[in-house]
């Protein structure tokens, strides 16, 4: 039942992007995510799409697995698109609706071209956002990612934020997920063998049917946590004090090249955004 849930979608390949420092990848992904909100026109969306495709090609990850990540937000995509189309009014009073329908007095559904454009842009923005971040998870192992987070959060130590503990919690969470999925699978099978039925009945009945799964899972979770705590204590684990890292992260020429290209690209995006704001009547920047 839960077999299909793959977590950590790391795709093993030998590429420029895979070899980059995880910290740089994380920062550039953040830059991308911020940058995409400054894209206001379809033309610039085109530029970003080309940029995204280039990165995917360099990263040597199959396009299919990048698109797969969109599957998870399909509901969100459809919902936002529908809401935008239905509730967006015209750009100005002069704009006539493309289509309108009034099922009863005082209530009309009107669809404007403006709404369609807005919905389309939001759609593109969300899709690219997810695709861009999936490149990060496809090319970086969860372990590297936690190291990167830990390293990037280090400055927060000044305000006594427990950076190391935070990273530890993150990496433990990640490492527990596969074994919990396996355990869930096993418990489900065991209860099914005792005649449990998860697939029929109403909502309440189905929700109740999950009790025999959740309780053993919870008990198992506590058991594992306790075992792990004991194992760490018996190895004299002390947290962040003078702890070195097995894998030392180093910046290489790749990171500088990639960083330079990405920063240059998004400077361009920000510039175009500024221009569109200033001279709003440049149509290709607006639409």
């Amino acid at each position: 039942m839960f077999r299909d849930v793959t977590f950590g979608q790391y795709y093993l390949a030998d590429s420029f992007v895979h070899k980059m420092d995880a910290r740089v990848k994380l920062l550039l992904t953040l830059l991308f995510m911020v940058g995409i909100f400054f894209v206001k026109s379809f033309v610039v969306f085109g530029f970003v799409a080309v940029y995204l495709l280039t990165v995917i090609l360099i990263a040597r990850v199959p396009l299919r697995s990048v698109f797969k990540s969109i599957k998870g937000i399909i509901v969100l995509l459809v919902l936002t698109a529908v809401i935008n189309i239905l509730f967006t009014k015209g750009a100005n009073d002069a704009e006539q609706p493309l289509w309108s329908w009034s099922p009863w007095n005082g209530f009309t559904i009107e669809i404007y071209a403006n709404g369609l454009i807005k919905a389309g842009k939001l759609f593109l923005r969300l899709v690219m956002l997810v695709m861009g971040s999936s490149i990060l998870t496809l090319t970086t192992t969860p372990v590297d990612l936690t190291h990167a987070v830990e390293s990037l959060l280090k400055p927060l130590r000044i305000i006594r934020f427990p950076v190391h503990e935070f990273a530890l919690i993150m990496s433990l969470t990640l490492s527990f997920i596969p074994s919990l999925i396996e355990e869930t699978d096993r418990i489900i099978r065991a209860q099914k063998a005792r005649g449990a039925d998860f697939d029929t009945g109403g909502l309440v009945k189905r929700a109740k049917a999950f009790v025999p799964i959740l309780i053993p899972l919870l008990v198992g979770g506590f058991r594992r946590a306790e075992e792990l705590a004991n194992a760490m204590n018996s190895r004299c684990y002390e947290g962040a004090t003078k702890r070195t890292c097995m894998r030392v992260m180093k910046l290489s020429w790749r990171d500088f090249v990639a960083g330079f290209v990405a920063v240059a690209f998004f400077t361009g995006v920000f510039l175009l955004y500024g221009m569109a704001k200033k001279w709003g009547d440049i149509t290709w920047l607006y639409y």
């Binding site: 099978r189 063998a193 005792r194 005649g195 449990a196 008990v219």
Partner: protein
């Protein structure tokens, strides 16, 4: 002793022989079919298990034994081939799962990890309730099952299953399966993680069910000693195929083959083999130290006379 062939033939659907608890014909199973991760877990399994047999299934991790065993309860559905369990056709589109699962009890590895209810009684009754048995009858069936596994019903029924010791938990979990009075009992390493005493208690319980109540037992195990002592028949899985299907005595005579499969020759079997090499004939039914000793002494006396 039979070695199954690799050739796959299209055989018209056969009816299971009379008195067969399990009848598999060209059973195949592939995990993640049509994907780069496809894994052929079962290849052309042909097998008949008669009612009342005690069959041990051994083999390496990933040899397909767990996959096969899960077919018996329709936890994994038949992909290709035929499988009949207690005259029920599992390759059919909609087999009666309730009826099947009530008759085929499945004890998973570490079954105590499936306990969930507030009280021992409620947990043992979980299966019975799912199979629609009414409340009063549930109570008596649960009582029988708990006493069968050697727990005192009145003392334990209202306790929380999480307050029990490891051995007691396992027995409660076992009772939860046995309460349904299954005709076939499938056990996946039932003794893993138990102390020697707990092991022998579980095994003698299983043996008792097999001998006294005629329950067909399918036991997956890594412990060759317990396989040797308890099973009437051993099936060795290798790479998704049945490599050997023989009585324990016959099988463990093939010491070099057993070791080449990274399995262990049980101590008693090795001892008997050594005796046989020295000219003592050990009848196949002699398995315990006492029996073997008796046979040896008897032969010595017969020779001396």
């Amino acid at each position: 002793m039979s070695r199954t062939s690799r050739k796959s033939k299209v055989i018209p659907k056969a009816q299971p022989p009379q008195n067969a608890a399990i009848f598999a014909q060209d059973l195949n199973f592939t995990y993640n079919p049509k994907s780069p991760f496809a894994k052929h877990a079962l290849a052309d399994i042909n097998l008949t298990v008669g009612k009342g047999e005690f069959v041990a299934i051994v083999g390496h991790t990933g040899s397909g034994k767990t996959t096969f065993v899960q077919h018996l309860n329709a936890l994994i559905r038949v992909q290709s081939g035929n499988l009949f369990v207690l005259e029920q056709d599992l390759a059919a589109k909609k087999p009666d799962l309730k009826k099947l699962r009530q008759n085929v009890g499945m004890v998973f590895q570490y079954p105590e990890y499936q306990l969930f209810a507030d009280t021992v009684l409620a947990d043992v009754c979980f299966g019975l309730k799912n199979f629609g048995i009414d409340k009063e009858q549930r109570q008596t069936m649960a009582k029988d099952a708990l006493e069968l596994v050697g727990l005192e019903f009145d003392k334990i029924k209202d306790k929380s299953p999480f307050d029990l010791s490891g051995g007691e938990k396992r027995r409660v979990a076992l009772a939860g399966v046995l309460a349904m009075k299954p005709q076939i009992l499938v056990l996946d390493e039932p003794t893993a993680g138990l102390d020697p005493r707990g092991k022998s208690e579980v095994l003698s319980l299983v043996k008792k069910l097999n001998v006294e109540q005629g329950v067909t037992v399918i036991m997956v195990s890594h412990d060759m000693n317990e396989v040797y002592e308890n099973a009437n028949r051993v099936i060795v899985f290798r790479d998704g195929m049945i490599a050997y299907d023989a009585s324990p005595r016959e099988l463990f005579r093939l010491e070099s083959e057993i070791e080449s499969m990274n399995l262990e020759v049980p101590a008693m079997a090795a001892f008997c083999n050594e005796l046989e090499r020295n000219g003592v004939r050990i009848p196949d039914k002699c398995k315990t130290v006492d029996e073997v000793l008796a046979a040896t002494l008897w032969q010595r006396e017969a020779r001396n006379v």
